[in-house]
Symmetry: C2
Subunit: 221 residues, 2 copies
DNA sequence: CGCCATCTTAAATAAGCAATTAACTTAATC
DNA sequence: GATTAAGTTAATTGCTTATTTAAGATGGCG
């Protein structure tokens, strides 16, 4: 009945270090000993506080995505009546920061990419809790940009083109500074936001201009 | 001095099954037993023929990328005097097939994505042998599309936008048929080729139209 | 202080896996 | 068909790692 505060402090530290190590090395390559060493704890600590390595991993991505979404909400912090162009730009910026941030923010993106290429059991949850609402959000914005005349397929394709550009930079996360040595990180990210927004808006406009018949292979209903 | 042919047959079978299993589960999650079971061989076979699990993995990606590049060469099989637009489209198609093919072709893409998010020791080789020449190829085409006035940074950003769109579809490889149930696979891939080409050419044109000063943060020399 | 739940620790346990070994079988060449 | 290198096999070794255990230390509260 008597709770001590040193316990919850250590638990929080373990979660933080676990997030970092998992994001860096992935679930399978991370040992409990790695995490406990980073948190200056005994190897039994993980099992004591979280039950198992798997349970800890689940806690990690839950908290990582929670903070990431809190810091960069799906609507980008914009009022609901913002123009779709502004919404798109905010969305791209949020994604890039989620992917490229050096702190906790970036860890969520790292873990997401690893789950997509190398799934653990957690992928199902991630798909439902993270990817699905995100897809809704992106498609909503694209729909407004393309107009009612566009097919569902056109919306889906454009949404993927935008998102994949952002995700792709997560893949080169570690190599980006090397590729663009002369730029500061924040400069680089903002330049990328500008580029992806410009590139994508042009792409979306081009799709909008195509005749509808060309792309109605899908959506027969 | 006496060579037997049953050995090289088994070795080839092991390589083939190893490629499939590695592409599906990744290096760390694949056990030697998994591979040998798939190839109807004893667990000692991998060490007998390849020396170690790591050496086998190296053989796997070498052969996988070799076949992938043979089937879809960097120039897309086009004559050197082809228009950059045709070259871009051929490149996009080649990438998509490398990412989405169900057979051996697709395995190279799977392994590449896993290496990028979750590197093993092999990543350095992959970067030098696969990624670097590819980047050269893409940037060459983009450069021709953007013209001499464009900055190196603009070329690099556009190249990434194009490539990442293709890579991104590799990330959803398994979920694509589910998202577009009504389309046959080949239909879907060709539709994606059309979409990415259209989208990217529009994006590149838009970048070309921007004033040079806006994007000269990099490349001070 | 003295109780007791909470937390910490070192050591033990057990499971999984890559790699090795040595005995055994097969196929090519004479 | 005898010889021998090549290939195959089951059993074993040794290492890494998640998890458990039980004993010990610590902090809050009466």
């Amino acid at each position: 009945m008597v709770k001590r505060k040193d316990g919850i402090e250590r638990k929080a530290l373990l979660l933080k270090e676990a997030t970092r190590v998992f994001a860096q090395k992935g679930f399978r390559d991370t040992t409990i000993a790695d995490i406990c060493r980073a948190a200056h704890s005994n190897t039994a600590a993980v099992n004591y506080y979280f039950g198992s390595k798997e349970d800890l991993y689940a806690e990690v991505w839950k908290s990582a995505f929670h903070t990431a979404l809190q810091q960069f909400p799906l609507d980008g912090g914009l009022p609901p009546n913002a123009t779709p162009v502004d919404q798109l730009k905010a969305l791209i910026r949020a994604h890039l920061y989620r992917m490229l941030d050096d702190g906790t923010l970036g860890h969520a993106g790292q873990i997401l990419l690893m789950e997509l290429t190398n799934p653990t059991k957690s992928l199902e949850f991630i798909k439902n809790d993270v990817i699905a609402p995100l897809r809704q959000q992106v498609r909503g914005i694209i729909r407004r940009l393309l107009g009612e005349a566009a097919t569902e397929e056109q919306v889906a394709f454009c949404a993927m083109s935008v998102i994949h550009q952002c995700f792709g930079f997560g893949l080169k996360r570690d190599r980006l500074p090397q590729l663009f040595q002369s730029m500061k990180k924040t400069q680089l990210v903002e330049a990328l936001v500008e580029h992806i927004t410009l590139f994508s808006l042009a792409g979306i406009s081009a799709v909008k201009k195509t005749r509808r018949e060309r792309t109605t292979l899908c959506e027969k209903k």
